[in-house]
Each structure stands twice: as structure tokens, then as C-alpha cells.
Assembly symmetry: C2
Homo-oligomer: 365 residues x 2
């Protein structure tokens, strides 16, 4: 069998360090003959701007399209604050999402038992938490036009962003959410602001119709995004799968991640549509955490979210669910043993560096 | 002195019940000669639709403009789900905000010591919490045009909402936040998504300039709204005043409210600009909680947020800070004594009805 093609985009800040631990795992899997991956590396974000004055080059986008999956570290940092909007680090990530049509962003919020106490929430509220947030990723206010700042003269300006959703965009993300729910707790909660936004009204209408047409066996609930946010904080275990738009998904998935006390632990998958002929789908995997420029280059970063993102790649892109299970189990074991990077340090636990953590996981695998 | 003119808009669900307790307090203040209020009552929300097929009549809006302050209960409920978008209950509240130009929404998130244990967060994270969220209330995606659903044929539709901010809108809300901070912890955190939204970029630029021009003595921080949401959950006590746009403010203020464990307790004030000639400003006061149709009419509702909203009216509209202090202290005392409505019930506490709670507060006053 031909090797699987992976494009590694370490990005900025702690990105290269955490990606290094994935590379180590991949090399080992290749050497053992457990899997066969061919990797290439590219630039995205601030590092791409420094090299080429763009947040990602056309050549790198082409490589991403040609790859079986993309792994991304993190982008951005204060260094690039003065950079023009169009070539800011985030533009590289957004272009990848858009050009590869990665409309479905899967963000699991899982509370690892060993980390339940590092949550700011009470243990009984978060222990055993296992939510999947399905965020629409190529529409809404992120990409709608007009998106501009107009000079009104006399030092006055007018800024506009446009939230746009079409029926097909809501249909396909709803289907992803319902399909996932069937393999999990069989419940979907859809969140929008239909009482204020026309896009929320359409969102609600389409999700309701898709449910009635094809997914009557799945339980469907609707919540307004503001009270949904409250419910996430009050009683997160009421949720199984949450489906929501790009902007609400951005805020709510970060909040859900923070509930778990395991922010440095959480992976994400961004998926395109499955090609009817090849059965393949474009995909990008990245940790939920950011580039953490303050601790970059010091061996302090937690590589577990990046490793777990590789685990999601095995599951969703390469049909290697068993190997993904092994990696997830290895991560849980390492935590149970009290091996911790600084962000998840605990009394009595063993503090380790980024690479020691990577090694520890590899040993468990 | 001429009596102060108050317009009472009880609204839907539990609105009339909680407003009843404020009315009782006002009547008592009048009878004792402590204050002199002239009240009128009107319809807004679903009840207005039932009576007049609109969410608020022009006549009621005119009364609101003429009043010294408006007190509002809550609007909405599933009963009006089938009602057309333009006359849905929320449209009444939104029209009041817009027509009275109530651009500054003040939402204190305070954790009452007696209620710290009812938070889903650990006591040490929320005990003593005292944040003021300043939400822009007449701009952004709530009111921007176009706001429409277009039929594309073949059952397909396209929904658009528009986020718009002009320089002056950001200037005036920033000034409100900085002025408030000076009377509190002297720190403002501004939240937006400048890495994705042009309105976020302008927001950041204007807040930074207003600070540099007039408020250098106040500490200013910027956070992206998604990581700001995380920080709210992780370590809310880092914040003093948070200033943000209409939609982020909607979600983040609800989350902040939920952190306190005191959702049924939290008031809000929506303020207009101060008239240079009269020194007066239009104002509307309402609880943060919703209309809770499931418990309406049963004497179960907690009137404390509505009473605290009246307290805010005394402070911000009538310069009666001492009386406002008295009411706030009365609420805290009642809680310390373990007098509780169902939503904040606790082991060993005394369960009371809406009107018993109102009486208990009155007795303390
Ligand atoms: C980096 C930024 C553009 C991005 C987003 O807003 O989508 C990030 O916050 C995320 O959630 O992946
Ligand atoms: C009722 C609704 C229109 C309103 C809003 O979205 O502003 C409410 O959620 C609020 O926060 O006051």
C-alpha cells in the first residue's frame, strides 16, 4: 500500500515544539512497520509572513490539497500585531479552512479523570464530561462579504462584517452532527440566536427539517446561544453533541474546553465533504490551544493536544481507530501516572518537559 | 419637587409577578414619604402582541421616552414562537433599546457570599467576584442592515445579518467603561475578535485611542472574545470592567452571570447619553434572567433581580445612592438569613414564595 501523505505545518510559538513530538511518534510508527506515513513540512502563519510576506503561500496550499491530511500546530503572536489584516498569521489558517472547504470542525471537550481537579468547576460538575462540539467552519461572519472598514472622513470610520448562511451549508453541518450523535449519546443541541438574527432563524429551520427528514431517531434540542453558554457552565453534562455556527462555535468551544480543566489536552478535526468517488475527505487536525508565545522555545509546552490531534487524524482520515485508541489510552495512562507539563502541574506529580512528555507517551504506545 | 416618572413594563411570564414586588416597594417608599414616584404601566412583548398585534405600541414607546426611567420585567415565551419575526416579543425590547438610544448596557456580575456554593464553580474561584460588564446595546449585528432571508428558489435560502460599528459608537461605550472603572477597580478589559472581524479591528483601535487621549490613569487590556470567555471561566476575578460589543456582550454577560450562582439575582441598566442641557439620560432597568414561562403564575419566581434593578434605577437615574445601598443591603441580609425562593434553595434554608420574598426585603428596608 502507498504511504499516507501528511503535511505538517508547525506554525508559530509552541507549534514547532509540539509538532516535534508528533514527528517522533510518526517516525517510530514508520520504523516499527505499524504504519506508513510520508511527511512534508511547510510554513503557515507568522513564520510564513517572515519568509514570504504572506500568511501561507499558494504552493503550501497546493500541498495541503494534495495531502491525505494536514497537521497544524498553532499560528499567531504579538510579534505580528502590526502586520496588515490580509496577511496576519490567522489569515493562513482561515485560507486553509476555506480553500480545502473544511466546513466541519469537531471539538471534543473531554474531562480526563486525572485532571478533573484542575478545572475551575466543581469536580462533580465536570467529572466524566464528554461533549462533542460541531462548529461550522467555512461560513458565517468569518467569510461573508462585505467585510471592510470605510473612511467617513474627519477621523471617522465605519466597519462592517457580514454573517451569511445558505441552506446547503446548514444542511451539511447538521448531517455531520446527527451522524456523530448516532455513534455517541444520540442527542444534538443546536444553538443560535433566532430571536435576533435572521441567520439564526434559517439555522433553526434547516436543522429542524434535516432532523425530521433523516434523523428522527436522534433527540434534537434547540437553545439560544446565550442561554446555551449559561447551560454549558451550569450543567455541561446535559449535552452530547452541540452544533452551532462559526462565531458562536469559536466562543462556546473555547468555554467548553476550559470547563474540562484540560485545555492543553484538547484536539480538533476540521473535515471536508467525503468525495463520492474516492471515499476520501480533506482534513486538517490541530490542537485547540493557541501558539502561547510567552512559553515558546523553552520546552514547557504540553504536546498532548497535538498528539491527540494526530490520534483524531488516524481515526477520521486513515480508518486506524485501533491505533487512535492506543494513543488516547497512552495519554490517559501518562496522566494517571502523574507525569505532567507545567500547565497541568499538580501537587505530588512529576514535572516534565515537552520532549519528556512526548517520550512518555511513546513508551506507553 | 415633582415626582419621578416611572414606566413599568412587566412583560411576559414571571415578569408581572416580580414587577409586583417592586410596585409594593415603591408604594411603601411613597407612603413613607421617603421618595416620590409616579408610576404608569404598559405592555411589551408577547402580551402586547396578544393585545395589539405588535410587540410594543407607538404610544407605549412615547411613554417610555417621556418617563424618567423604565422598569422592564421580561419578554418572550414558546407561546409566541409562531409569531412573525418583526412582531416577536423580543422586538419590543429591541425597539425600546433602539428608539431610546440606550447604547450602554451595564451588567454587574456579583457573587453574593451566601450564594457562592450554588455556583457550579469552586467557591474560591467565585467568592467575592464583582465584575461590571459594559455591553454596547444599540449597534452591531442586532441592528445592522441588510438583515434578511432571500429565497434562492428550489427550497434554498440565504440569510444575512450585518455587524456594523461606527467610530462614535465605540467611543461613547468606551468612555462609559472607563468612567465606571475609575469608580471601581480602575481596570478595563476590551474584548473583540480583531483577528477575524473588521469591526473588531476598529473596536480595538478606537478603544485604544480613547484610552490614550483621556483615560491613561485606567489600566487597559485587550483580549480576543474567545479567550476572554475562557478567562472568565478560568479566573473571573482578574476582571474589573469588561467592555464588548452587542453580541459578544450578550453571550459573555450571561456566562458571567452564571458563574456567580446568582442568576435570579442579577440586575441590569441600559443607559442613553446624558443630555447636556437637562443633565438627564434615558434609562431602562431589567433583570438579566428571562421570562421563565414554565414557572410563571405560580409564585415561584425570584423577585430579587427585579428589586436590584430598581436599586440600579435609584442609583443611576435618581441620584439616590444611599437608598440603593439600603436595598442592596436588604437583599444581602435576606439571603444571609437563609430566606430563599426555589431557584436558590439550599439545605437548611427557608423556602418562600415570590411575595414572601418581596415582603422580607421590604421588612429589611
Ligand atoms: C486563530 C483564529 C482565527 C481561530 C478562529 O477564530 O477560528 C481560533 O480562535 C480557533 O478557534 O481556531
Ligand atoms: C431577549 C433578547 C433579545 C436579549 C438580547 O439578545 O439582547 C436578551 O438575551 C438579553 O441579553 O437582554
Amino acid at each position: 500500500m502507498a504511504p499516507h501523505k501528511l503535511l505538517l505545518l508547525p506554525g508559530d510559538g509552541i507549534g514547532p515544539e509540539v509538532m516535534g513530538e508528533v514527528k517522533r511518534l510518526i517516525d517510530w510508527l514508520n520504523a516499527q512497520g505499524i504504519a506508513s506515513f510520508e511527511t512534508e513540512t511547510g510554513l503557515v502563519g507568522g513564520c510564513a509572513y517572515d519568509a514570504d510576506k504572506v500568511a501561507i503561500t499558494d504552493a503550501t496550499v497546493a500541498k495541503a490539497k494534495a495531502a491525505d491530511a494536514v497537521l497544524l500546530g498553532a499560528v499567531g503572536g504579538p510579534k505580528w500585531d502590526p502586520v496588515p489584516f490580509d496577511v496576519r498569521p490567522e489569515a493562513g489558517l482561515l485560507r486553509l479552512r476555506k480553500d480545502l472547504e473544511l466546513f466541519a470542525n469537531l471539538r471534543p471537550a473531554i474531562c480526563y479523570p486525572a485532571l478533573a481537579d484542575s478545572s475551575s468547576l466543581k469536580r462533580e460538575i465536570v467529572e466524566g464530561l464528554d461533549i462533542m462540539i460541531v462548529r461550522e467552519l467555512t461560513g458565517g461572519v468569518y467569510f461573508g462579504e462585505p467585510k471592510e472598514i470605510t473612511d467617513l472622513g474627519g477621523g471617522k470610520k465605519r466597519a462592517v462584517d457580514t454573517q451569511v448562511y445558505e441552506t446547503y451549508e446548514i444542511e451539511r453541518i447538521a448531517a455531520v452532527a446527527f451522524d456523530l450523535a448516532r455513534k455517541r449519546g444520540n442527542k444534538v443541541t443546536s444553538m443560535e440566536k433566532r430571536n435576533v438574527m435572521k441567520s439564526g432563524l434559517l439555522w433553526n429551520e434547516v436543522v429542524t427539517r434535516v432532523h425530521a427528514e433523516k434523523y428522527k431517531d436522534v433527540k434534537l434540542e434547540h437553545q439560544l446561544a446565550d442561554s446555551g453558554g449559561m447551560q454549558l457552565v451550569r450543567n455541561p453534562k446535559q449535552f452530547d453533541v452541540i452544533v452551532t455556527d462559526n462565531l458562536f462555535g469559536d466562543v462556546l468551544s473555547d468555554i467548553a474546553a476550559m470547563l474540562t480543566g484540560s485545555l492543553g489536552m484538547l484536539p480538533s478535526a476540521s473535515l471536508g465533504a467525503t468525495d463520492a468517488k474516492t471515499g476520501k475527505r480533506k482534513a486538517l487536525y490541530e490542537p485547540v490551544h493557541g501558539s502561547a508565545p510567552d512559553i515558546a522555545g523553552k520546552g514547557l509546552a504540553n504536546p498532548l493536544a497535538m498528539l491527540a490531534s494526530f490520534g483524531m487524524a488516524l481515526r477520521y482520515s486513515f480508518d486506524m481507530g485501533a491505533l487512535a485508541d492506543t494513543i488516547e489510552k497512552a495519554i490517559a495512562n501518562v496522566l494517571e501516572k502523574g507525569i505532567r507539563t507545567g500547565d497541568i502541574a499538580a501537587a505530588g506529580a512529576k514535572g516534565v518537559s515537552t520532549s519528556q512528555m512526548g517520550e512518555a507517551v511513546l513508551k506507553e504506545v
